[in-house]
């Protein structure tokens, strides 16, 4: 079985943890997030007969970007950014966040989950914003509440990690 390290990064309150908790195998409680700053789960994805075990490093979302523990990003095969569609600033900060992450993890595949897609009435992102975001990132709309897009996001991540592997000499 192939294992891949995937880091989940996002500002505080974007719903990172609730986004995955229904879809992953957990051993550790959420207390780890507040104590150690990371919680590790497993998500198994089947890609055309290949099983990929994504080891998800759920990094605690803090208020400021500087709070991210960069050591946890080392060796990551892919990054899953989580932004909150009802809070504009979580999207606006993505490019800065990316710069920070790339410093530690290098240029690895990235997927952005634009979360809380079920809260249409409180949506704060315009179509133009979303388009410009999609041009910079692989963007998926997700909802922790309905489960929409979550599997899709993981599929994309898994495929991306395998693609980089095959691309390497």
């Amino acid at each position: 079985m192939i294992q891949k390290k995937v880091c989940m990064v996002g500002l505080f309150g974007t719903g990172k943890t609730s986004l995955v908790q229904r879809f992953v195998h957990s051993l550790f409680s959420e207390r780890y997030l507040s104590t150690v700053g990371v919680k590790i789960d497993r998500k198994q994805v089947d890609l055309d007969g290949t099983t990929v075990a994504l080891v998800l490093w759920d990094l605690a979302g803090r208020d400021g970007q500087d709070d991210i523990t960069t050591s946890y990003l080392r060796g990551a095969h892919a990054i899953l950014y989580v932004a909150d569609g009802t809070r504009r600033e979580t999207c606006d900060q993505l490019p800065e966040l990316r710069a920070l992450v790339r410093e530690a993890a290098g240029e690895v595949p990235e997927v952005v989950a634009l979360n809380k897609s079920d809260l249409k009435d409180r949506w704060a992102i315009t179509a133009t914003d979303e388009q410009s975001l999609a041009s910079a990132f692989d963007l998926v709309r997700t909802s922790a509440k309905t489960g929409e897009g979550v599997e899709d996001a993981f599929q994309r991540i898994a495929r991306a990690t395998l693609a980089t592997r095959e691309a390497r000499p």
Binding site: Q3, H25, L27, I40
Partner: protein, 579 residues
Amino acid sequence: MPDDRAPWESSATGQFDPSAQELSELRELILGPERRRLRELERRLEAGATPEELAELLPEAIALRAGRDRQLARALAPTVESAIGESVRRNPREIASAIFPVLGPAIRKAIAETLAGLVASINSTIEHSLSPRGLRWRVEAWRTGVPYAQIVLKHALVYRVEQVFLVHTETGLLLSHAWAPDLAASDPDLISGMLTAIRDFVADSFSPERDAGGLRQFSVGELTVFVEQGPRAMIAAVVRGQAPDTLLARLQDTLETIHLQFSAPLADFDGDAAPLAGVRPLLAECLATVVATGRERDGRRPAWLPWAIAAGLAILVLGGLAWRSHRRWTRAVAQLRSEPGVVLVRAERGSRWSFTGLRDPMAADPSALLAAAGVDTASVEQHWERYLSLQPQLVLARARAALSPPAGVTLVLAGDTLRVGGSASLRWFATTARAAGLPAGVAALDLSGVSPDLPPELASRVAEVERERILFGVGSAALDGPARAALTRVAAALVRVQTAAAVLGANATIELAGRTDPTGSDAANQTLSRERAETVLAALAERGTSPADVRVSALGTTRPLAQGDPALNRSVSFTVSLR
């Protein structure tokens, strides 16, 4: 020697210039050997080390490197292994004979160690089973629902390496994992990730400068986790109890070996641990369970206890065997004592059981009796003298053997008289009963109770005689006309009976019974009946019939032939006995 000259040495004036010639010679004298040495060195440098030179240096080089660290051994190990493998494939006999002298002692040592371990484990099991502490543990096992074996392990455990992880340093992904057989290890991949995270967390929090060593060890309750860092992978061992320092050295050693043997798969690792499958046996070697034998921890342990238990068991077994043997002995002796015709004089229980005594030939076989009592007769000595027993069963048995009575005959011993009953053929009477002497223990033979089985012809002749009655007048003993006629018939019939009996070899006895009617006194009747019988006897003699054995009885009125017919009782009747 133009070849030895440098290019700048050749001059146009050459040999015609004597000073130049001298100079050249001088140069050759001074610099020649050095130049040649230089050229030789150049040649050597270009050619590299020759095999001859390598052969000179190799042993020393190997010794030097082997003294410094273990890298040489590790580097050579795969080659040596495959060389041995190849040699075994090609000619197994060579290797077999080479290692033969080593194998014997090695096997002996392994067996000795296994036995020593077994003894230690038996000791500790007995100790744990029977001591108050063992009972306490039993209660604990019962109370907590944990198997007793695990409770014992928990208390007797010095240390146990329960799990060993090999973790990719950069990504925290699990490369390999080995765990104790009875342990339910769950989600090692998540634990390996978290272990990496915690290592980073500790490093970030307390030792900001990188590569300061990182997290080496942490303890949780009875568990300690040892972490050894390597450039590409780290090894982590989860240990229950007090691990010795040697364990750390062992982990380091294993980590180094893994880095050496799997350097390429480690460097290329990108999430697929399959090329590192060979790591697992190396990790499994680090798993260990070390249990205290209890000797040094509990001085009060009664050393004699296991021996006492063993001795008790031995006594029980031996006692059981002795008891069984004793029961068999008493049963056998009782059997022999109670058997008629067998007299047990001496019975001895030495290394072999021996029985001595007397035995009637007619008695049961003592060997069969012993076998019935459960004695192995093959391992028993017996001496039996023959004798004649006067016990009734034996006398009867002997009589039966001597007389061989036919089916209808019964033999009963009354005192020393043998009474014969039932019915038997005349031939048996004639041959057996008369010819055979009396068997030992029998003083007299009473044949009165046995009646002969007569052949039908003879029986009808006898009936002919016994049917006849010689009738008399009242108070008379004189023969009248009809009486004389009847007498004539009887005489003729008696002759026929005697003839027929003689043919069969038997004797006929005739009894003449005289009777009277009830009138008159008994004394007179008695006399009259005698007269009547004697009259008949005389009349028979007159007719030439004189039976060899005739008895006359005067019955008077004592045994009347028919009640209420006086005429029929004034008579003489005949009874024929054949023997």
